[in-house]
Structures are given as C-alpha cells and as structure tokens.
C-alpha cells in the first residue's frame, strides 16, 4: 500500500522462432497490490510470467524488482530474492507428501548444504526442526493439516492447487505470481481461493495474477494490465478496464472461455 514499485517491466520482448510472443510490454506492479493480467489466449501472459520468474530470458527491454535489475537472474536466484510462482499446469512432486511439498517451499530460509546434510550436523538438525515447525504453521494456515501425510499427486484438484499455494507461501515471498489458480475449481472452491489470495495480500505479499475466470479476476485485482497479441494495450482498475473500448474489442467482447 506504500505505493512503492515492486516489479517493473518496460519494453520487454520475447521472440520464438521468428514469432513475437511479447512485443515491447510495459507492466508496473506496486507493492502490496493484487495486479491482474488479462488477455485472450496466446496474448503472452504466461510467457511474461516465465520471463519475470527467470524461466525465459527476454529479448529486449528492462526488468527490475524493487529497483534492481533481474533480467539475468535464474529462477532459483529470483526465488531466493522472494519472487515465486504457481503453475498453470500443476507442478507437484511425485512421491512426496503435502507436508514435504511445503518443506521444499521452505528451502530458501535454510543454509545447511550438502556437507552439513551428509554429516547431520547440529546446525542441519536444528534447521530441520525449525523448518518442521514452520511447515506445520503453513499447513494449518492453508487448512492442509488433515492431509499432511497424503501424497500430493493423489489429491483432488482443489487440494492440489492449495498445496501449490502453500508451497509458494512457505517461501514467504515478496511477490507471488499465480498462473490461473482458479482453473478447474468449482464456485465454492473459487470463493475459498479468493479469500486465501486476499489473506496472502494482507499478509504483505504482492500478488500478480493471470486468470481467465472474470468474476475472480474482477473481484480480486486492484489494478489490471491488458495484453493482446503480445502487446500491453491498457492498464487501470477493474472498473476502468471494463469500460475501455479497446479492451472490449480485444478481449471481453469475445468468447472468454477456453
């Protein structure tokens, strides 16, 4: 709410085999807001997420996080700095329980490396105990205690999305990027999700959101940037965006389901 800029992209481009997936995109996310990205399929929203989180390198433009250049950072480095994400196609770990997923999310708060791990040093053990406590707190917050020992890949979709969210929040990120968190959820689950996202924001985490479910998007976002064919065409509050003619033409006027 301080109005400071969290994440800023200006002139970001990405070319895949001659096709410009992103062309001079400008996005500014302020600290503490929930910032939505909307646009038709193929507009470049997920590509943009992949660039912010370091999975792709941009082919031009600048990318800063809290004023520092992050355009050359790897996903792991960005996560260490407090930028993390969830995935459109769920990325859960096979053969790992819900609690263990959250444990992985807690990775960035630890320091014990291979040697400490192999030797089982006091430091490594203490760190592990602290992590377990933190994991329990996170599980409780996301209402996952009851299924803490279930394998995450064997859970229903709604639970799986919550596991991903819990894992990402275990990082205690400064900014969290959510790629279509509501897809596949029923109305009740979607409402629960909205509550969770709001609570994440009020906990001090900036949220960036790609979502096709318009009620969810309009209900959550403070600011929305509209993408169309790799270009950022508009920016405003949900109410403003809804009224923009170019937005209606590009997106809202068309079929919105996939």
């Amino acid at each position: 709410m301080s109005g400071r800029v969290s994440l800023e992209a200006s002139g970001v481009s990405k070319v895949f085999g001659g096709i410009r997936a992103l062309d001079n995109v400008d996005v500014r996310v302020d600290e503490g807001e929930i910032h939505g990205l909307i646009g038709p399929n193929g507009a470049g929203k997920t590509t943009f997420f992949n660039i912010i989180t370091g999975f792709y390198r941009s082919d031009g433009g600048t990318l800063t996080f809290q004023g520092e250049d992050i355009s050359q950072s790897t996903p792991a480095e960005l996560a260490q700095r407090g930028i993390t994400r969830t995935f459109q196609n769920l990325q859960l770990f096979e053969e790992m329980t819900v609690a263990e997923h959250v444990m992985v999310g807690y990775h960035r708060h630890g320091t014990a490396g291979f040697v400490a791990g192999l030797l089982g040093t006091r430091h490594a053990r203490q760190e592990h105990r602290r992590a377990v406590e933190m994991v329990d707190a996170t599980l409780e917050r996301f209402d996952l205690l009851g299924i803490a020992d279930a394998f995450a890949t064997e859970l229903p979709l709604g639970h799986q999305r919550r596991v991903e969210l819990a894992r990402a929040m275990a990082l205690q990120p400064k900014i969290l990027l959510l790629d279509e968190p509501a897809s596949g959820l029923n109305a009740v689950e979607a409402a629960e999700l909205m509550e969770l996202i709001r609570s994440i924001r009020s906990g001090g985490t900036t949220v960036m959101l790609v979502e096709h479910d318009m009620p969810v998007m309009m209900g959550l976002a403070d600011t929305i940037t509209v993408f169309d064919f790799g270009i950022s065409i508009a920016r405003g509050t949900p109410a403003e965006v809804r009224e923009m003619p170019q937005v209606i033409a590009a997106y809202l006027g068309e079929e919105t389901d996939d």
């Binding site: 895949f16 085999g17 997920t46 992949n50 999975f55 792709y56």
Partner: protein
C-alpha cells in the same frame, strides 16, 4: 551469447588440429599420410553414419536413446557370418546374399519385437526408465550372442573375393593411397542406403507419416497417424540400418559378440555430434568422427583409438550440446 559460443568451439577445433599436426610432425607425417588416415577414417565413418541414423530415427519418434542399437549392429554381423559359414549353396556369392538377407530380416524382427514387447509397456514412463530398459536389452542380446556363438570372433571374407579370384581383398592405389575393396563396398552401400532413405522420408506416404510423427506426436495423431505403430517402424528401421552397418564392417573387423558396445557408442556420438535430430547431421557426424578418430589414433597410439569418441562426446556436450550442424532451438519449457 551465440557468437562467443561458436567462436569457442571453433577455437577448440583449431587447438585440436594444432595438437594433431604437432604430434604428426613428430612421426614425420606428410600430406600423403594424412590423406591415407582420412580415407581409412571415411570407411569407419560411413558405418558410424549408418548406426547414427538408427539412433536419430528412434530418438525422433520415441524420444528414447536406444542403447540396444549397438546390439543390432552386432547381430547383423554375427548372423551373416554364421549363415555364410554354413555354405547353404554352391556359390559363395549367393551364400553371402542369403546370409546378409537373413541377417537383415532377423535383426529387423528383433528391433520390432524390442519395441512391441519392451518399449510399448513403458511408453508413458519417464525417459530414464526407457534408457535403462534399452541398456538392459543391449546386455541381454549380448549375452544371447555369447551363448550362441561363444567368445571367439567369427569370420566373413571381403566382398571383393566373391567377384575376383583373389582370396584376399583387392587393394586399389589411387594417388599413392591404399584403398581396400571393402571400403568401396561400404561407401557404395552407404550412399545407396541414404538415398533410399531420403526417398522414403520425402516421397512415400509412410515416410511422410513417419516424419510427421517425429515432429509432433499429437498433431500426427490428429491426422490419423498411429504414433505407436510409428515407434515400431522406427525400431525396425534402426535395427535394419544397424544390421547393414554390421554386415559391411564384418570383413574388416572379425565379428565378435561384444562388438556392439564400441560401435553403438560411436554411432551414438556421431548422432549427438550431428544434433541427434537430423539424419543429415548424423551422417555428417559419423563421417567426421570416423576421420577425427582415425587421424588422432594415427598420430598417437592405436590402442587409444576408442577414446577419441568419448573425448569428442564430452566436448560436444560441453560446448555445442545442440550438435555441430544444427541451429539452436529454444524449447517451450513451461
């Protein structure tokens, strides 16, 4: 990013050439010696090319590195030598044709069975599982060959001996070089086979379906192409190519049950050098490996011959993992 990378690989190439020349100097090598080493290298290189194409064909369709490929080569050579030695007819030439035909058919059958029995059940498994299964099959086939033929090498005469009265291979001497008759056979057969293959891929329905399946399984399925069957075709084709390679090289290196590992590795290195996806890259990779290996062995120690493929493999993986002859691809990861 691209330029320094290719500059670096070019630099490494130059350094290698400099080292080779330096070592060759010490042995008093001149142009003739290098030309001879190159010609001999072209011979094994052609065989590597055939084996490499087998790797590429299977990899493109199934995304499997088929470690059993070397066993196909061994089977081709061993079956031919075995059947030939039985002298089924009065004519040696006819015996060879029969033996080679049986070898190709049987080895292709082994390839097809490999896919249907072992690879199909794990079609959805991760690559690691598939790789380990092909390693297991390679070992099993080698074991079976050892059971059938024992630990000693078999023998197959050079093909020219069937056409001339000379009981040994003919030596041709163009430009003061020595070229074995078998080398000519190898080159002719390889070129013919590659032309036939290119015709198959571009001109026939089956070949086109095959290429479609290789480039995009989902799209190919939507077009009504059965990618499961295509995998079987790929394994059969790879086995046939391997068998031909084995048959051609059999007179030069007495076929033995454990020849597959060495030749399989060479073919694989050739395929990786060529980018693992393109048939022409694999052919170029095979020829390049054959020449480099032979020249390097010539200027150092014959016993170290087989080490060069490993060295090249590591260098390629380190500096040009996308292959020497392929453009860099950016893949969608997320």
């Amino acid at each position: 990013m691209r330029l320094p990378m290719s500059a670096r690989s070019a630099g490494i190439g130059l350094v290698l050439i400099a080292i080779i020349l330096r070592l060759g100097n010490g042995r008093g090598f001149g142009a003739t010696e290098y030309a001879q080493l190159t010609v001999d290298g072209l011979r094994s290189g052609s065989i590597y090319a055939l084996i490499a194409v087998g790797f590429v064909v299977v990899f493109n369709v199934t995304k499997v590195i088929n470690f059993a490929q070397g066993a196909f080569v061994m089977l081709g050579a061993m079956i031919t030598a075995d059947v030939y030695s039985r002298s089924l007819t009065g004519s040696d030439l006819l015996n060879l044709v029969i033996a080679a035909s049986i070898a190709i058919v049987l080895t292709t059958a082994v390839g097809v069975v490999t896919d249907i029995v072992f690879m199909r059940p794990i079609r959805k498994s991760n690559d690691l599982v598939k790789i380990i299964v092909t390693v297991g099959l390679f070992t099993a086939l080698e074991g079976l060959a050892l059971l059938k033929w024992g630990p000693n090498a078999l023998r197959l005469p050079a093909f020219n001996t069937f056409l001339t009265d000379n009981p040994r291979d003919t030596n041709y001497r163009p430009f003061g070089l020595l070229v074995k008759g078998q080398s000519i056979w190898i080159w002719l057969a390889t070129i013919t086979l590659l032309i036939a293959l290119s015709w198959f891929f571009t001109k026939t329905m089956k070949g086109r379906a095959f290429r479609a399946s290789a480039s995009n399984e989902l799209a190919a399925n939507l077009m009504g192409i059965n990618s499961v069957a295509m995998a079987t075709v790929a394994f059969g084709l790879a086995a046939a190519l391997g068998a031909v390679g084995g048959i051609l090289i059999a007179p030069a290196t007495a076929p033995i049950y454990d020849m597959g590992l060495r030749l399989g590795l060479k073919g694989f290195v050739s395929a990786v050098t060529g980018g693992l996806r393109s048939v022409s890259g694999a052919v170029a990779g095979g020829i390049l490996l054959g020449v480099i290996e032979n020249v390097a062995a010539g200027v150092t120690k014959a016993g170290l011959r087989d080490i060069w493929s490993a060295v090249i493999l590591i260098l390629v993986l380190l500096y040009r993992p996308e292959g020497l002859f392929a453009g860099k691809r950016e893949t969608e990861k997320v």
